[in-house]
Symmetry: C2
Subunit: 265 residues, 2 copies
């Protein structure tokens, strides 16, 4: 169970978030831990929040559609949602299951993550090129956290973020797609409420909340800042994988609904 600061009478809980500036244009092989440590002063317990785009770029996850030959299904979906069939083929190649084919393509990745276009990004890369998600975002997060520890001695938590749409509500929010030294969920089961009754099961998706908070400072455009530090939330924990956040198939009523639509169409 993650340890989060809990208020006591009269004690003000306080967290701050700030950007790390002067992050250069990231290229394959860049040492993100070194770049971050050179541009900010980290403390024990800080949460380092990094946009997945720069992690992916440092890992060389850029590709073009040149050698991709779309199959029949990709051509069909491409026509229906107005995308290049080679792009659709790239999305399908990265997916274990396609939940929505049009008007947008929603797929499940091997990792369990469900996202539009398999998380492939065509913003903030040179024209004609595309950016994959990091291959194993938890592993990337653990590696960067370990590198920071080696360079500074500081034990930080790490959250690699993407943005995601939501059910029923427009707009996107920051979410965690890879984590290190932080649990994805805080468990409130068994704690007492104001009247001493036991709370029903409540799980707080703290890693996603951290990602959302940081996203307020990250921005999307050319003025964007891909690294934000959160300080003051006492949540450091040496276990935790983002895998724990993905619902298992049998308990996912929304996934069942999307499959029902596919069957009917």
């Amino acid at each position: 169970m993650a340890q989060v600061a809990v208020s006591k009478r009269g004690i003000t809980l306080r967290i701050e978030l700030f950007t790390v500036n002067d992050i250069p244009m990231i290229r394959e092989g860049d040492d993100l831990a070194a770049i971050i440590c050179n541009n900010t002063s980290l403390e024990d317990g800080d949460i380092v929040v990094i946009a997945s785009t720069i992690v992916a770029k440092a890992e060389g996850r850029i590709f073009s559609l040149e050698n991709i030959v779309p199959g029949r299904r990709a051509i069909d979906i491409g026509h229906r949602c107005g995308r290049d069939p080679a792009f659709v083929q790239a999305v399908l190649d990265r997916s274990v299951e396609c939940l929505v084919e049009a008007p947008f393509i929603l797929v499940q990745l091997e990792s369990g993550q469900i996202c539009v276009n398999a998380g492939i990004d065509d913003s903030n890369v040179e024209e004609g090129l595309f950016l994959d998600l990091p291959e194993d975002p938890d592993a990337s997060a653990r590696r960067i956290a370990a590198d920071i520890k080696k360079m500074t001695g500081m034990r930080v938590s790490l959250v690699i973020t993407d943005t995601n749409g939501r059910a029923f509500r427009i707009g996107q929010t920051g979410i965690a797609i890879g984590i290190a030294n932080i649990e994805p969920v805080r468990d409130w089961i068994g704690e007492s409420d104001l009247f001493g009754n036991r709370l029903q099961i409540t799980q707080e998706a703290v890693a996603d909340e951290v990602a959302s908070a940081a996203n307020l400072l990250m921005g999307e455009g050319s003025g964007g800042t891909p690294v934000v530090i959160m300080r003051g939330l006492n949540i450091h924990n040496t276990t935790g994988s983002i895998q724990q956040i993905y619902r298992i198939e049998e308990e996912d009523i929304i996934k069942k609904g999307l499959k029902c639509l596919q069957k009917d169409s």
Copy 2:
């Protein structure tokens, strides 16, 4: 369009969040603006984030199941999801549509909000009593913001929060259910990315991200703090309603999926 601080080279963007302490047990008729202003020092541009529970309590939104006679549908749903049929009837009475009947009850409210149990809460109230959401959370937010302006002269934004589950991911995050002086969504359409290409449509659900950030400090149990201030995010705006965030029926593929499941069952 909401104005959010955008990073410039070398300028560190910074936001802080802190709790307002010593909020007493809230009762019907309590003046939340006065209680908040007496327990913290607000500044122009602050975002005051308040848990919906205390807004609802101040508005006297507590009820019991005593006089509720469940109809046939409530009795049926109650048996299937293990809830008191009178409670189910209360949920149905507050809903324009029921999207999931079991194993949990997911409904749409008149306002457009889609939530479990119509947002009725049986935590943090005396046993046998239940707490409704505020009747018109946007109106509550506007009133409290106006009261704070009258008392202190400070122009604050206001976000009334609840917690909500998500599609595909376990755990809950803070969401905005009523807002004042803040837009629910920041629009990135038309801004340029790092390579000068126009970004595709991206809408950032800033009010929900503010709610999620504040929820990290709020907690759920008896140690919970229902009021958090966010300072430093330049997002004050005199327009904006949470209504703008709810997807219209025709564009909501997840809602269609849930209806497909109901039809099939």
